[in-house]
Symmetry: C3
Subunit: 469 residues, 3 copies
């Protein structure tokens, strides 16, 4: 059993760390034992840098949870803002525990398998414990792993939380708090880890050559499929889609908070994509990481400008919300291949990602699917585009990429759909019409988000809940 | 006089940096002078990594001040939100200057002493100044210190600010702006540094074997004791505790802002605990730092889930505010020993910390002590639990830990209480009833936090201030 | 053509990286080829650290854009908060693309020139592409550059965005969205890069000995001059300056959001100034970076306390907004020389910067220049003070510094003024009185910032727009 497996999505750079170590060893042989210290020093510092990279970038990815929370809390109506905060702090906690107890084991401890292994309670390696206990002899075995075991766990854990965050936004304002938490537990303990086992865990998709550098499909589309399944089962908010075919606008209740959320996501994405280089010890790692941050930024910028310039023809006005989602969908799209050499590709991929998101939003609305923050267009549709675009930009195999997209989609969507249906039977996934009318904050938590501010009365509310009688 | 003393709370890892250096030196002797360069390179890079770790993690701890600010600004009623922002930006500035002029000198320049030394205006070492001035010969002496002098100062300074931040939340909505600032200056220049001198400054508690890795007692309980003393002297808000024994609910005025604050604290805590490893140069440091971040996260997550599941039986409803405080109290509890090997301990310590916080809140309320944000239960009570739990999890001496908790408590509480009493005589610590009724924003700053939003009239206000005449 | 030029504002430390490399090489000659690996390892890690420093600190500088956004969104009246969010997300995107396509080429690819070169679409070096493509032979040439090419680009790009952010705040509430974007494109593609070419690009000001470590003049004053020119051309908000000589107070609409913005800026500034050391490979770099963070923090703290204590005599009340701007102007002032040895200088420079800002605000108001957030006093006036103060503190040439301040000012102000005038002719830079009365959110975006909150009616509004007919 390989306990300390790390995902290695890039064929290109594979073996570099090993090669450097080997080179150092051969030099060591010539001068042994006198230079051993210096040589260990170099290897040690490489280990330190790899580990530190996971930790620093991982903290930024954790920060994305705050970004999703702000984006969602500002996007929902005031009467549901407390509950969405609760869902987000709760999902991050649940994701962390579920991935610790079960998820990481499924994803990485049985490398190359189809559904992973039930290897519970991942923890530091025996060598690491020995080293921390004062056994210097364990250092060599620890260093051989390339990075501290738990630094990789930490970095992978924050990715799981991202997947769950995508779901909460799409289903806001009507999914029950506890049903959402139950879904989150299964998503982060099993669904995402199994997708991960197929790919970063070197399972069958990895072996086919499927490539998804930081998770356009593995993270964002998986979350998007789960959200789409939920949106179908839970159904749209009352009054969103009217009998006359018109659609009720539900503008964000707090624009500065939404904007803050997008800036947080933009900042955190540097960790998401940059840390996915998975190493910092070598020159090539540092170069690649730099390119990754630049490409991520350019894709987001291109997404913003595309939405800025095209939202009027597509959506009927210069749309701030579409512009903010332009940044997100641009980054989702580049996430499958942020390490491409030519930044012009990043601009193109990001711009198209933003277009895909805007058009996707129209398509969803036409199908009467209610997605409060546009999570499905931004994360699923742009994620599919990005995964396919990678092979256009970097020369992979289109069919393989398509197989990856479809198989992850089929699995994530169908399992999520079944899960939502089961939860609906067991506990109900949708709040009652009266709760939806009052707002989940007052009904489920007894805590308004802005208890002192006088709020407008929604003029359509009676219409929205006419049948609620 | 040792100017560049760094705290070393762990016996285990002590001497590791020295050992590596020694190893490199011995190798150097065999090959001298040819390998000197390579060997210096390794030592240099270790120095760089130690320093950089202090800086990056220190920035995250500074960011916690924004977290406290948001948590508190969203928790108080709108009429006091500007003043709490002023208190927090002010306390961070005061703490920084006070610690520069006096505090750090007390804490670290007279190592092993009881009350530190009055060594003012800490600054770069002479060797560092020489090196920056172009004297390459000074490099060896600089490197010998293990890290840049001011990087440690920076990291310690942001900890002082945390202590002061804890106080502002508990006393919100009624403590006078300038009285609070005066207290902050003394707390950060003298009280906290003296506690620090006893412990991280290798004073008598350190020599007894007291262990508190990142400051459950030294930082959080000290702040909590100061807050408790203040709450007793300042007294509860008018109307909080009614004559009929009932307690007035004072819900947060802005939930998304509170939630943001907690996410910021969660993010910053990775720096708080991770940076407290105090070094990054060695493999063991990197491994320990990884475990620390993971344990910190798991403790917070366990605190969240515990509050989520038990707030209904304990507090009467599924409580968002308790859940958010669950994250904080979980992290406070693990802060004394985040470097334990087995993550399961972190989950247990965090979960119990959250319970301690919830029960503690009830106890405080029963004693008619008014703590606006629950700072005393979250930082003091959970901090005591964490300091004692460390020796359960990692096998220290329970009696020593208890002596540390009690002596820090006796000192911090009594000095704080005297100080609050003196301030009350000199300048008054409590705003007048009319100021409290109007709100501190309008009365003390002439600046409402949300001047354009129409606010609800508090229906109990007349009752609350009935005696105000 | 030197493609990978990095700015080197410090004479002192020049050649240190080269010296270390040379030292390692000489050692390598004695032991060649056996120690080559170890020696390359050291050089490689230096390259990695330099690169990583650019990336991590660069991310913090990017985060400053969120800080400006929050500061501005909370400072404007609610009816203009959505548009200011749009301007800020848009300017960051535009700055990134403009600097990629044109700006960086002007600033750095024709080193020592007067107006830079039109070298479009900056990207990774050929050696880096070869290395990433698997050509290990390219590694040496890559390492020779000292850092990854795009890591420097990333760090420089986020500085451009800062310059543009300064403008948006000053002109808030009345400048047209698209005129602002057009100005931003030219500012970031040409104006700032030409100033940069004169200085960090080793042009004529650099050759004269002008020193501006992290950009008090180059970044902050350039932005301030552009804002001042804009404020003059666009004119004050209706009703701001009344016929009777009185000035209408326009308090911030959301104080917690403003405060959050300032904390974000404070946090990000550690990256702004710390990263401007431009290297992390050497001991002197790490020492300097530590001093820089400490000085930046002390200058900000001194700015806060100065405003706290003097805002009552200067502005008539203890002023939160002035206190928050005290932090900013303190940091702007120290930005020209944050690497001074004695922290007391930082305190003095920051304190005076805060005074300059407060007095400057009075001067601007007396001249009936409307600057919504005080950007011109905080960034331009304090920036001038800081640039001159540097030579007082560190012993530079006052005349040279003055020449730098004046020539950058003459260029940035006059070009910006012409540009604003041209834009006014071409598309108009000012919204109509009716749009200003309704608010830009409803008029330009059709999206209120807080659509559900009931807002106060501005009692002066009729007066303000009396002539609007």
């Amino acid at each position: 059993m390989i306990r300390h497996q790390v995902r290695r999505p890039r064929g290109l750079r594979a073996g570099m760390y090993v090669a450097i170590t080997a080179l150092l060893s051969s030099a060591g042989l010539l001068l042994a034992p006198a230079t051993l210290a210096a040589q260990d020093g170099a290897g040690d510092l490489g280990f330190v840098l790899n580990t530190y990279s996971f930790l620093v970038w991982g903290v930024l990815v954790m920060w994305m949870c705050a970004g999703f929370t702000m984006l969602e809390a500002g996007s929902v109506r005031s009467k549901n803002a407390s509950v969405i905060c609760m869902k987000n702090i709760g999902l991050y906690a649940i994701a962390g525990l579920a991935y610790y107890i079960i998820g990481y084991g499924i994803m990485y401890t049985d490398v190359g398998s189809v559904i992973g292994s039930l290897d519970f309670f991942y923890g530091p390696s025996a060598e690491e414990v020995a080293l921390l206990g004062g056994d210097q002899g364990a250092a060599a075995a620890v260093v051989e792993n390339g990075h501290a075991v738990m630094s990789d766990w930490f970095f992978q854990m924050v990715f799981v939380a991202t997947t769950a965050s995508i779901v909460s936004g799409a289903l806001a304002e009507r999914v029950k708090l506890w049903a959402f938490f139950a879904f989150t537990a299964v998503l982060t303990a099993f669904v995402y880890p199994i997708v991960g086992a197929w790919t970063w865990g070197e399972g069958w998709l990895y072996q086919m050559g499927f490539t998804d550098f930081a998770g356009s499909t593995i993270v964002h589309s998986t979350g998007g499929w789960a959200a789409l399944a939920g949106a179908l089962v839970v159904g749209p908010r009352w009054g969103k889609f009217r009998r006359d075919g018109s659609i009720k606008a539900t503008p964000p209740s707090n624009i500065p908070v939404v904007t803050l959320g997008v800036f947080i996501l933009w900042m955190g994405w540097f960790g998401f994509n940059g840390g996915s280089q998975l190493a910092l010890a070598g020159v090539a790692d540092a170069v690649a990481m730099s390119n990754i941050l630049v490409n991520t930024n350019l894709a987001a910028a291109a997404g913003v400008i595309t939405a800025l310039c095209t939202s009027r023809p597509i959506l009927g006005r210069v749309d701030l919300f579409a512009t903010l989602n332009g940044a997100i969908s641009g980054m989702v799209a580049i996430t499958a291949g942020p390490n491409i050499d030519n930044p012009l590709w990043a601009i193109l991929i990001g711009a198209v990602g933003s277009l895909v998101c805007m058009v996707g939003l129209k398509v969803l609305e036409a199908r009467r699917i209610d997605d409060v923050v546009g999570a499905v267009p931004a994360h699923l549709f742009a994620g599919i585009w990005g995964t396919l675009a990678t092979c256009i930009a970097a020369g992979g195999n289109f069919v393989t990429q398509l197989v990856g997209v479809l198989s992850v989609g089929a699995f994530a969507f169908s399992v999520s759909w079944i899960l939502w249906m089961v939860l609906d039977r067991v506990m109900g996934v949708r709040v009652s019409r009266s709760v939806e009318s009052i707002g989940q904050d007052a009904a489920e938590l007894g805590l308004d988000a802005y208890p002192e501010f006088v709020l407008m009365v929604d003029p359509d509310e009676d219409d929205d809940f006419r049948d609620a009688g």
